[in-house]
């Protein structure tokens, strides 16, 4: 999509501390300039996504925290796009590679937005032996990973090699759901033609089942290892990155290009022309809507992210962030807003839960005013994939009940 006239770049886009602005009002900035960074603590830098002038440093609508500080840049329509020539990264040290990842502000773009340079520095006692690349599109509707694997498989493989070098390991496994044979094929042939010099990279077609793209499920499918409750992947020797993050790492290291563009799936019956778009971070949803021919009359809900775990938003002024993977415009018939009723104990949620928990009991305990007693049902293992609420015939808001239970229950 064309560069918008104005972008609003949030200074708090991801997991960790918010960035402090590094620019002032009226400053001229170049595409790719760092405009915000964290002074201390966990976080990642943000960069200008367009060339232009800083119009304001203020507050913007934020998908999750309602309001957040931002830098608004007025685009210079005359400015040519910035070039990012490739250079050889092979000779660089681990520290230099990590530094480039950090400078480029890379975060996990599969969704959570955890700063990647931190994830790539596991504690010394963790014995990581396998890198897992997640190509199992996290949620229905979203097709960004699919497009990326078709269009840039060789860059993803190159990114994987950089990741393996940083981690000092040899083994990389890429998981893709079997309903994308073209992506499996593209990744396999990119793998075959790449010079892997010693790295072992394999591509597996996985069973099509939501939530296959969930970290714990993906690790189990690819390696047979199970990450225990309250544990992290490195507890079982694995680090997971999204294929999109791998491509971003290639850009960051080989091109020294920061992360300021994002592939976004725009879908749902509420938008005139659904599409996968390459958009600049900071582009407002309203600009995307007008580029795609507007919304349709049946529009009932706008969701940032996927339909199972994304956030519903109330305004179209919200800008795209590094972690925005989808913008869904859902119509009345897609959302099913029927009121909920008592649990009829059909047990479908038990069948659906990928973690083997008891969503029905958690919901009943919460309704009975006993959310504190739900840890016995494994409430903290729930990662809110939404399967239980999706299948519930009584339309019970089970994820909402579980979130409440997590707030009140003791670990």
């Amino acid at each position: 999509m064309p560069v918008p006239e104005e972008v609003e770049i949030l200074l708090h886009q991801h997991f960790g501390a918010p960035c402090q602005p590094l620019v002032n009002k009226k400053d001229a900035v170049n595409e790719g300039d760092r405009i915000g960074d964290v002074e201390k603590g966990l976080g990642a830098a943000v960069h200008a996504s367009v060339t232009g002038n800083v119009k304001a440093i203020g507050q913007s609508a934020h998908p999750v925290s309602v309001k957040a500080p931002s830098v608004i840049i007025q685009t210079d329509p005359e400015a040519p796009p910035r070039e990012w020539p490739a250079s050889d990264w092979q000779g660089l040290s681990r520290e230099d590679l990590l530094g480039r990842v950090k400078n480029a502000g890379i975060v996990g773009i599969g969704g959570a937005g955890f700063p990647t340079h931190v994830k790539l520095s596991p504690p010394p006692n963790a014995k990581v032996d396998t890198l897992v690349l997640n190509g199992a599109e996290c949620e229905p509707y979203l097709t960004t990973d699919h497009r990326l694997m078709l269009e840039h498989p060789e860059k993803i493989i190159e990114g994987a090699k950089i990741l393996l070098t940083i981690l000092g390991i040899k083994e990389c496994r890429i998981g893709i759901e079997a309903n994308k044979p073209d992506a499996v094929e593209a990744m396999k042939s990119a793998c075959a033609s790449a010079s892997l010099n010693g790295f072992r990279v394999s591509v597996s077609a996985l069973k099509v089942k939501y939530p296959q793209g969930s970290e714990k499920q993906l690790i189990q499918s690819l390696t047979g290892r199970r990450v225990p409750g309250f544990g992290l992947p490195f507890d079982v020797g694995v680090i997971v990155q999204n294929v999109g993050t791998a491509k971003a790492i290639y850009d960051a290291v080989a091109l020294q290009r920061p992360l300021y563009e994002k592939i976004v799936t725009v879908s749902g019956r509420g938008i005139a022309r659904p599409a996968n778009l390459l958009v600049r971070v900071g582009t407002r949803i309203s600009d995307i809507v007008s580029f795609l021919g507007g919304t349709t009359p049946g529009l009932a809900k706008v969701v940032l992210g996927g339909p199972m775990m994304g956030f519903a938003v109330s305004s179209l002024d919200i800008p795209v962030t590094k972690t925005t993977s989808g913008i869904l415009f859902l119509s009345e018939e897609e959302i099913d807003a029927r009121p909920y009723s008592q649990c009829i104990r059909c047990g479908w949620c038990l069948e659906a839960c990928p973690m083997g928990l008891l969503p029905n009991e958690i919901g009943i305990y919460v309704e009975a005013g006993r959310p504190g007693d739900t840890s016995q049902f494994g409430v903290f293992e729930c990662f809110e994939c939404g399967c239980c609420a999706f299948v519930c015939p009584a339309k019970r808001p089970l994820v909402q009940f579980i979130r409440l239970a997590k707030m009140k229950a003791k670990k």
Binding site: G229, K301, M308, A312, I344, W348, I364, E381, P393
Partner: protein, 333 residues
């Protein structure tokens, strides 16, 4: 106006209404056939049962200040099932009392749908058995063979009443059964289609099987409970039901009484049955074993109703014993 709510933002198209009304649809063919087997009054008794169950649901929910949910079809199922386990010749008003007991006491006083321990329809029947023992154990009608569906209307029960096959078998033995109902092959054929004395909706194995298999096909129920009930009834009857061990007739046992109605439509009630596969198999096998025990050793010729009611209170324990396997609990749990 945009809706804002917690994820997930899409849902499967299933709903409680859809499930319940599908069950109702699966229960209708046996009702229609019962008009041709026992006459038009089965429709009246069933209509009274359904009507009073729905009314009892609305009134109960009103009295208890709960949302009125009669449109979900659950009270309709209770009404249908209660009528189906009542003899066809009872006075038409009897189900009203059963409905009050089933819906108000057994369902809503225990917390409403999802919290009732016992199957409401069977509580209704057990209550009627206790309060109208004569009508409930003798108002059997011989099947009509000439499609004269108004034959029994207005006539006294005593003038036409007959005995059920299980009663005959229990008190007079197999030879009298054959004398009364024809050769074993005739019996199997008639009983399979539904032409035998019995409760209103329990006689047609064929139609109950079709309805039950449809529910399995729709994934609204699984095969575990129905199969384990049927297999257990067949097995225990084969072992203990004959003159000597291993001489019983398992096919006759399954085709008579309320085994198939109970197995597919009552023992599979979500609220009063377990959810995990091993628990389902134990639950079904227990129902079958208790059914045969009551049939062979108890005071009644039929035991499906009480067998289910006896297994119902074990469900919370079965749910506790058999839980889904956690994907990966925290270390040390």
């Amino acid at each position: 106006m945009l809706t804002v709510s917690v994820s997930p933002h899409i849902k499967s198209g299933e709903s409680v209404e859809k499930i319940m009304w599908t069950v109702v649809a699966c229960l209708l063919p046996p009702l229609i056939l019962s008009i041709f087997i026992f006459g038009f009054q089965t429709l009246i008794v069933t209509a009274v049962s359904v009507g009073s169950s729905v009314a009892a649901e609305a009134i109960s929910q009103r009295l208890l200040h709960r949302p009125i949910t009669i449109k979900d079809g659950s009270a309709v199922i209770t009404g249908l099932l209660m009528a189906y386990v009542i003899p066809p010749g009872v006075p038409w008003w009897i189900p009203i009392l059963g409905a009050v007991m089933a819906i108000y006491v057994a369902k809503h006083l225990l917390g409403g749908i999802g919290f009732n321990i016992f199957n409401p329809a069977l509580i209704g029947r057990a209550f009627l058995m206790a309060t109208f023992p004569v009508a409930m154990t003798s108002a059997w009608l011989p099947p009509i063979r000439d499609a004269a569906v108004f034959k029994y209307m207005g006539s006294g029960i005593d003038a036409v009443s007959t005995a059920t096959p299980l009663y005959v078998l229990k008190h007079y033995g197999a030879s009298v059964l054959i004398e009364k109902f024809g050769s074993m092959s005739t019996i199997y054929g008639d009983f399979f289609v539904g032409w035998r004395p019995g409760c209103i909706g329990e006689t047609s194995a064929l139609l109950l099987l079709i309805g039950g298999l449809f529910l399995i096909y729709k994934k609204y129920i699984t095969w575990h409970i129905p199969l384990s009930v049927v297999a257990s009834v067949a097995f225990f009857t084969w072992v203990f039901g004959g003159e000597r061990l291993f001489m019983g007739d398992p096919l006759l046992a399954v085709l008579s009484g309320g085994v198939l109605l109970g197995a597919f439509f009552m023992a599979t009630d979500y609220v009063t049955s377990p959810s995990q596969v091993p628990a389902k198999l134990i639950f079904g096998a227990g129902i079958g074993a208790l059914t045969v025990l009551i049939r062979l050793k108890g005071g009644y010729p039929e035991g499906v109703c009480y067998a289910i009611l006896l297994m119902n209170p074990l469900v919370p324990a079965l749910e506790g014993w058999f839980r889904p396997k956690r994907f990966a609990p925290p270390k040390g749990v």
